[in-house]
Symmetry: C2
Subunit: 272 residues, 2 copies
Amino acid sequence: MKRTAFFISDGTGITAETLGQSLLAQFETINFTKLTRPYIDSVEKARAMVQQINSAAENDDARPIIFDTIVNQEIREVLAESEGFMIDIFSSFLAPLEQELSSHSSYSVGKSHSIGHNSNYMERIEAVNFALDNDDGARTHYYDKADLILVGVSRCGKTPTCLYMAMQYGIRAANYPLTEDDMERLQLPAVLKKYRDKLFGLTIDPDRLTAIRHERKPNSRYASFAQAEFEVREVESLFRRENINFINSTYFSVEEISAKILVEKGVERRLK
Amino acid sequence: MKRTAFFISDGTGITAETLGQSLLAQFETINFTKLTRPYIDSVEKARAMVQQINSAAENDDARPIIFDTIVNQEIREVLAESEGFMIDIFSSFLAPLEQELSSHSSYSVGKSHSIGHNSNYMERIEAVNFALDNDDGARTHYYDKADLILVGVSRCGKTPTCLYMAMQYGIRAANYPLTEDDMERLQLPAVLKKYRDKLFGLTIDPDRLTAIRHERKPNSRYASFAQAEFEVREVESLFRRENINFINSTYFSVEEISAKILVEKGVERRLK
């Protein structure tokens, strides 16, 4: 079965998209074509959207699903004339919230309010810079300022995880690769021992690691399965010996890994 | 007025948090303390949550607001016994969707379904690697593979924007700094001329640029207001002369900048 889903917003569309994706994921048997349409902030743009929605309806021979977070009522009314099935996110929840909070929302007075540009901006940029500057063991003398230090073999997913935590939560995460030298010594590098409480381990299945390394350095010893298996085994055994909690990045998304790390380390998000 | 809001999930909590943040942003006069509590996936964890919720209620002298995306009904029932005001995201929307799609959701059959680890994983990691490898003009011979190339003065926000687009959309975005040499020539560097269609400009207010550069290189000529103002003026004039669309990063969040760029360039997300 085939359906089109539209995530429509007068802003970035991230709320409509995030909620829509989660809801649609509950219907595993349906094959959705998903289209995000941000900045639909005028009646003309809404009219053009209606045409897109109606042609999707014709192509699929089924009503498209529309998730919208549009504040302006006139624009919403235009969309409502389309052949789509509308899930109107804001109007569903803002009325009960207004009652509970004994307060009018910007929405009900017709004013768009984006989360926009606030004190979070600099906090987040600084966290991203921290992740970049302290990536891959490049610099270790700012570890006192780190919220977390991820450790693991080269190419197990440390960098994307650090960047995601910086972007999503404003967390300052450094990462340090456990390389063959460290492995032969079979102990934690001295620079990490001082920050034992901040350490969290990432591991990965040797098959997946081989594939990822092969993309970077085809046919190298570094990218061989034997090398990947050796490194992963040694590092996991180090994690166990040193009581460093770890997660296998083969089975979880970057979002899941990040959320699990924050729970396990008891670190709170810095972004408001 | 002071209220606590909890974003509670049996998964990462990102859906509950994203929707909750958007809804709460509509109530500008209320000061919310926001707490994300992912992986509440057992009755015991839910009972511990109830205690946290009830003590927040006591401290605030007002009911906490709870946004939840918990699939398991038993766990939701435990939370419902708390003193919080529950906004039950999944149950509000899944019943109408089930009817429209003539299909049972995983939710209604009590099965948790995470978006989890799918084909998006490699696509996203590759996009992040692309952004890192092609950051700051470091490498230009892969520009044929780029979806976009951001250009602007040093420290105007190119890197975080590229990384965000990689993480959120799987877009491959390179970035190239317009430095003083290029400015004196007052023309686009040759390497960019070939890829004119992929270019998008970022600019920034000289005040903000001065502050950001000062963090990196205090009291340098590079971080002086005069230098920032000169570079911004020259680059904006280049953008206008060369018909390169641009956005001022001073006034928008990374999410907003990214969404606007994709709309203006007509680039579709690569993540499903």
